[in-house]
Symmetry: C2
Subunit: 164 residues, 2 copies
DNA sequence: GTGGATGCAAAGAATTTGCAACCAA
DNA sequence: TTGGTTGCAAATTCTTTGCATCCAC
């Protein structure tokens, strides 16, 4: 199910083994800076999010933590806390469930969700850049109108060509 | 799909007075064409959606129908049916709830949701057009990659300047 | 008349809350 | 030590399902 896509980023993760720990450290730093404690469940969640380079649902995260016996409620609470400090971004909404992705100073990514398989694929960087520009333009306009603290969510849905 | 609906919408411009009934008729026509029956609850729901020109949640629609005593379950079922025949578009996801909007030959609209008041405001047409173009470009690219039946959702979230 | 649609009740999922025990700082 | 965190259980909220009745066609 997680047969990852060709994101140049996940490739980078595999190549540079150190990057994972770097990312984890950055996340911990952000926790600390926000006055949140670094606990075993939280570390496990962050590791899971880093290992999986795609957005994950609460349920999926909980599944990945089976070995650490982290309560489902804890996942809910942690993700909520992480979202508050913007460590994580609530990225997708599909059938009323939403997916979370780490939000560590990276450019926002845009994805397609397959209606049938529910697999997620990343929009290629070139096209995404164009989209990002348009989105930023809208945000700027909103800011000019007096809106503050603006963010956005974009989701593409379709039927994937590869029905694996 | 969204794009095709956006393009053949020359019916959109009507005189203000007759517009509501026209819209209702168009909706009924679509129901009929799809083999769905025109019932009192469905008419009431459609009228409510037309009267309110903003996207509405299931809950809100149900509230608006208090006088007609339409069951909440019926609203769920109708909205689901309407979505299947694309009479309606599931437009927003906020806190796990989603908002529905009529999808009758109008260009897709993009909205900002205020974090505090939860009020919805429309993105001005000029900026929206730019955004629509970028979105279409992404969809085209996806189609080229083999995706079918593509649609998208976009939501801006921010804090509105007017805290009424 | 017939099959789709509705209302009511009840089941099922998803998410939140309360509280005692726990542990990171 | 101490207040933020966690786990467990239970409460809530949201959404779906079953079924008898109803009504649009």
């Amino acid at each position: 199910m997680l047969a990852s896509i060709q994101t140049n980023d996940s490739v980078a993760n595999v190549k540079a083994g150190a990057k994972v720990t770097d990312t984890l450290e950055a996340a911990c730093a952000q926790l600390k800076a926000s006055g949140l404690r670094i606990t075993r469940p939280r570390l496990a969640i962050l590791e899971a999010l880093i290992a999986r380079s795609e957005p994950a649902s609460i349920e999926q995260i909980h599944e990945m933590l089976r070995s650490t016996k982290c309560d489902l409620v804890t996942v809910y609470r942690c993700m909520s806390a992480f979202e508050d400090i913007q460590l994580v971004r609530r990225a997708f909404f599909l059938n009323g469930t939403c997916l979370y992705a780490l939000n560590l100073g990276r450019p926002a990514r845009y994805h397609v969700v397959c209606k049938q398989t529910r697999r997620i694929e990343e929009i290629d960087p070139a096209t995404a850049a164009e989209l990002a520009r348009a989105l930023q333009q809208v945000e700027e306009r909103l800011r000019a109108q007096g809106y503050a603290d603006i963010s956005h969510m974009v989701e593409f849905v379709g039927t994937s060509p590869s029905k694996l």
